[in-house]
């Protein structure tokens, strides 16, 4: 009885392995035609770092505008 159980167990594992292999083949078969094609863009990728710099410039301009008005009050 004990031997039988073990044997059955082995069978179950083997069956599962077979199932796994089958699943893998299925997946491979379905995946192949649906390959994701990665292509390098023909245009260069541009990352705009100007945003941060512009913000800093605007901040400095705030101070500069104050001074320019104070120092040239006759034209403002």
């Amino acid at each position: 009885m004990r031997h039988r159980l073990t044997a059955d167990g082995n069978g179950a594992i083997r069956l599962n392995m077979k199932k796994g292999a089958f699943l893998f083949v299925c997946l491979a078969a379905t995946a192949l035609p649906g390959c994701v094609q990665v292509q390098a863009p023909d245009k260069p990728i541009v990352i705009n770092l100007n945003i941060a710099i512009r913000q800093e410039v605007l901040y400095r301009l705030d101070q500069a505008s104050k001074e320019v008005i104070e120092e040239n009050s006759e034209i403002f």
Partner: protein, 134 residues
């Protein structure tokens, strides 16, 4: 003795006069607007534009036009100077100063340009300024 007392008084008066004179000269260093410019502002003939320059609310007389053109040229020179010193464009510098001019330098009764380009009369309430203004 009485004479020296008088002398002292006189010296004190002269010193006071000199001090007052120096104070007046000091405040004179803060240059004032040309009276014609001040008048044109007060009369609502001209106003502050959003771009940092003066504009005409009504078609200007040759005198007012000459006055405003001259001031705008001088303003542009200053904006250019400051823009260069701060790594900004002249337009950015002018615009930023324009925000400040509208908010801080227009008195009630004077004209300013709203973001939609319409002319508004400044009153006691805060002016309508561009969203890009700080």
């Amino acid at each position: 003795m009485a004479l020296s007392e008088k002398m002292k008084d006189r010296i004190e008066m002269v010193a006071a006069a000199l001090l007052i004179g120096a104070a007046v000269a000091g405040s004179g260093a803060i240059a004032q607007r040309d009276p014609a410019y001040q008048q044109a502002r007060a009369d609502g003939l001209i106003g502050e534009k959003t771009d940092g320059y003066l504009g005409f609310v009504t078609p200007p007389s040759p005198a007012v036009k000459a006055l405003v053109d001259d001031l705008n040229i001088k303003r542009k020179a200053k904006y250019t100077e400051e823009a260069l010193a701060n790594g900004a464009t002249v337009e950015e510098m002018a615009f930023r100063t324009g925000c400040r001019l509208i908010k801080e330098r227009t008195a009630p009764g004077e004209m300013y340009q709203a973001p939609d380009k319409s002319w508004k009369t400044r009153d006691a309430s805060p002016p309508v300024v561009d969203v890009r203004c700080p």
